[in-house]
C-alpha cells in the first residue's frame, strides 16, 4: 500500500509520467470508439429507447471498475483514501447535469465521445467540440456572477456507503445486482420499441455476470481494511520512526513553521476537553482521541503544504492519534515533542507558581493546573519566536501529497 498511487513522476520524470496518461487516454479513446460512441445518432438512440448502448456501456464500465477498485482495496493493493473521489457539490452538480442532459439530446455527444467522433472524421463531432470550447469559455467569463451558487452545498468527499450508512461491500454488490437487473430490462425495452424479437446475447455474458457478482461477494465478505488493518500494514516502518524519534518535532520547529507563510500548520489537540479549556496552543483544533479517525477524511483535503501536529499533555495520546492518522494515509503528520507539559515548561515556566504544579501525576496528565479556562489567551499559547533562542534538530520532511488533487475534469 505504501506505493499507491505509483510515484510516476519519480519513476519516469515529470513529462515521462504524462506518457502514462497519454497511454491511458489512448486505451480510453479506443474503447469509446469501438463501443460506437463516435456516432451521435447511435448515442441519441438511447433517449428513444431504440439502442440503450450508452446506458449498457456506462453501467457495465462502472460496475466492473467499481468491483475491481473495492476488491483491490479489500486486498490491500489500493488505498481508497488516496483515490480521487470527486467532491460532492450537490446542487451545482445537479443543475450542471441537467444542462448537460439537454446538451446531450441537442448536440448528440458528451465531451469524451465527441473527441473520438472528431478523431474518426465526424463533422458534427468537430462542430460539437467547438461548441464545448465556447461553453467552457462562457463559463469562465460568467462564473464570477454566481460564485456563491457554484461553491454551494459542498459536502466534500461524500460516498454512497456514508449516505446509506451501509458497508462498502453491501453498496458494491447492490449496485452490481441492480445494474444486471436493469440490463435485462433494457434488452426487453429495446425489443419492444424496435418491435423485434429480443437479440440473442453472446454466450459468455451470463458467466461473466456471475463472475462479477462473485467478485462483489468477495468484496462483501472480506470487507474494507479497518484502521487497525491499515496500521498493521505500515506498523514496522512507522514504529521504527517513532522509536527513532524521527516524527516528534520540538516546539522550536513548530514555531518556525507556524510563522512560515508558505506552510500551513494545523495543531491537533487530542486531549480531553477540560485540559483543552484550561490551556491550548493558539490555532489548535480540538479533536478528542475517539474522533481522530473520523477527522482524517477532512484532513486529506488540506493543501499539500500542510503540516499536522498531534498534541497531548505528554506524548502518549498524541502518539495514538499519530498512528491512527498515519494509518489513514494523512500526509505530513508529526507529534509535538513532550506535548503541552514540555511546552508550558519552556514558554510559561517563569510565570507559573508552585501551587499550579501538579505533583505525582500520571502519564499524559497535565503537569500544571489553571484555575480558569484560559484557553489560548495565555501568553504561552502563542509565544514570540524571539523569546528564546530556538535550537532544534529539524525533522519535518515535507512529503508531496500522494493523493491526487483533481480528477479528469479539473
Amino acid at each position: 500500500m505504501a506505493n499507491f498511487p505509483l510515484p510516476l513522476a519519480d519513476l519516469l520524470g515529470h513529462w515521462g509520467s504524462y506518457g502514462v496518461y497519454a497511454i491511458i487516454g489512448i486505451a480510453f479513446g479506443m474503447t469509446l470508439e469501438s463501443a460506437g460512441f463516435g456516432n451521435s445518432k447511435l448515442l441519441a438512440a438511447q433517449f428513444y429507447f431504440k439502442d440503450m448502448r450508452v446506458f449498457k456501456v456506462m453501467f457495465t464500465a462502472i460496475i466492473v471498475a467499481m468491483t475491481l477498485i473495492f476488491l483491490s482495496s479489500s486486498l490491500g493493493l489500493l488505498d481508497y483514501n488516496l483515490i480521487w473521489v470527486p467532491p460532492t457539490y450537490l446542487w451545482p452538480g445537479i443543475v450542471g447535469g441537467l444542462i448537460m442532459g439537454v446538451g446531450f439530446i441537442v448536440g448528440g455527444f458528451c465531451p469524451g465521445t465527441s473527441l473520438v467522433g472528431l478523431a474518426t472524421g465526424k463533422i458534427d463531432a468537430f462542430v460539437f467540440v467547438l461548441g464545448v470550447l465556447f461553453g467552457i469559455y462562457m463559463f469562465g467569463e460568467t462564473v464570477s456572477s454566481f460564485a456563491t451558487f457554484f461553491d454551494s452545498s459542498n459536502m466534500g468527499r461524500f460516498t454512497l456507503p456514508e449516505l446509506f450508512n451501509a458497508s462498502y461491500g453491501v453498496v458494491v454488490i447492490s449496485i452490481v445486482v441492480a445494474a444486471l437487473v436493469l440490463f435485462v430490462l433494457a434488452e426487453k425495452v429495446e425489443a419492444m420499441v424496435n418491435d423485434k424479437p429480443q437479440q440473442r446475447l453472446p454466450g459468455w455474458l451470463k458467466p461473466a455476470a456471475g463472475g462479477l457478482v462473485a467478485l462483489a461477494a468477495v468484496v462483501l465478505i472480506i470487507g474494507q481494511p479497518s484502521n487497525e488493518d491499515r496500521w498493521q500494514a505500515i506498523a514496522a516502518e512507522s514504529e521504527a520512526k517513532l522509536e527513532g524519534r524521527a516524527v516528534q518535532i520540538s516546539s522550536g520547529e513548530f514555531i518556525k513553521y507556524r510563522d512560515d507563510s508558505k506552510i500551513k500548520i494545523i495543531p491537533l489537540d487530542v486531549r480531553e476537553e477540560r485540559y483543552y479549556n484550561q490551556f491550548h496552543l493558539r490555532g489548535a483544533v480540538h479533536v478528542p482521541l475517539d474522533q481522530v479517525q473520523a477527522k482524517a477524511r477532512e484532513l486529506q483535503f488540506e493543501p499539500a503544504n500542510t503540516i499536522f501536529v498531534t498534541i497531548s499533555n505528554d506524548e502518549a495520546a498524541a502518539t495514538e492519534a499519530w498512528k491512527i492518522l498515519k494509518a489513514e494515509s494523512v500526509p505530513n503528520i508529526y507529534i509535538l515533542e513532550g506535548g503541552i507539559n514540555a511546552w508550558l515548561k519552556t514558554y510559561a515556566g517563569d510565570s507559573i507558581s508552585d501551587e499550579q504544579r501538579v505533583y505525582n501525576r500520571q502519564e499524559d496528565q497535565m503537569a500544571y493546573k489553571f484555575n480558569a479556562a484560559t484557553g489560548s489567551r495565555h501568553p504561552a499559547a502563542a509565544p514570540s519566536p524571539h523569546l528564546l533562542d530556538l535550537k532544534y534538530e529539524p525533522k519535518v520532511i515535507l512529503e508531496l501529497k500522494r493523493a491526487p488533487t483533481s480528477g479528469g475534469c479539473g
Binding site: A65, L82, M100, F128, F150
Partner: protein, 174 residues
C-alpha cells in the same frame, strides 16, 4: 472484396463496457485519479486565451488558477489524457475501418441544422460540465465507480435532462 472495405461492426456493448471498466480501473490503480475529457479541453482553451490575451487571464480568478503568471495550462496530465483519447479514437477508427467524413443525424434535418444543433449542444455541455465540475467521463463514470454521492446525483440529472427533452428533438434523430 467489398466485404474487406466495409466498416467493422461496433463491439457488443457489454464487452465494450467491460473493457472501458478495466481501463477505468487501471487509471485509478496506476494514478489514483480516474478518466476525464472536459478538463483537457478546458486547458487547451485557456492556453489559447493566454496566448491571445494574457492580461485577461490574470484578471479572472477562475482562469488564473490554471494559467496565471508563468504557469503553463498544458502542463497537466489531463491534457495528455485528452490528446491520448483523440489518438485512441483515431487508432480504433482505422482498425475498424470506420474513418469517414460524415455528419450523423436523423433523415429529417439538413446538415447545417445538425451542425447548428451540435454547436448549441456542445456549448450547453461545456458550460454544464464546468458548473458540475466534470463531464460524463470525469464525474459520472469515474466518480460513479468510486461511489461519490455527487457523481451519482449528477448522472441521474444528465439522463433526466436528456430524457425530458428527447420528445422535442425527436425529428433531429429519427
Amino acid at each position: 472484396m467489398s466485404q474487406a472495405v466495409r466498416a467493422k461492426p461496433y463491439l457488443n456493448p457489454y464487452l465494450a463496457g467491460t473493457l472501458l471498466g478495466i481501463v477505468l480501473f487501471l487509471a485509478f490503480f496506476i494514478t489514483g485519479s480516474g478518466l476525464g475529457a472536459s478538463g483537457g479541453l478546458n486547458r487547451l482553451l485557456v492556453y489559447v486565451q493566454n496566448e491571445v490575451n494574457p492580461q485577461h487571464i490574470d484578471q479572472v480568478a477562475y482562469l488564473l488558477k490554471m494559467a496565471g503568471g508563468n504557469s503553463n495550462p498544458l502542463d497537466s496530465w489531463i491534457v495528455f489524457l485528452t490528446v491520448g483519447t483523440i489518438f485512441g479514437g483515431l487508432i480504433s477508427g482505422i482498425l475498424g475501418r470506420r474513418m469517414k467524413f460524415e455528419t450523423n443525424k436523423g433523415p429529417q434535418i439538413s446538415n447545417p441544422t445538425r451542425w447548428l444543433m451540435a454547436f448549441a449542444g456542445g456549448a450547453l455541455m461545456g458550460y454544464g460540465a464546468r458548473l458540475a465540475r466534470g463531464c460524463t467521463s470525469g464525474q459520472a463514470l469515474s466518480g460513479g465507480a468510486v461511489l461519490s454521492v455527487g457523481s451519482w446525483a449528477f448522472m441521474f440529472a444528465v439522463f433526466a435532462g436528456a430524457y425530458a427533452l428527447a420528445y422535442f428533438f425527436r425529428k433531429a434523430w429519427n
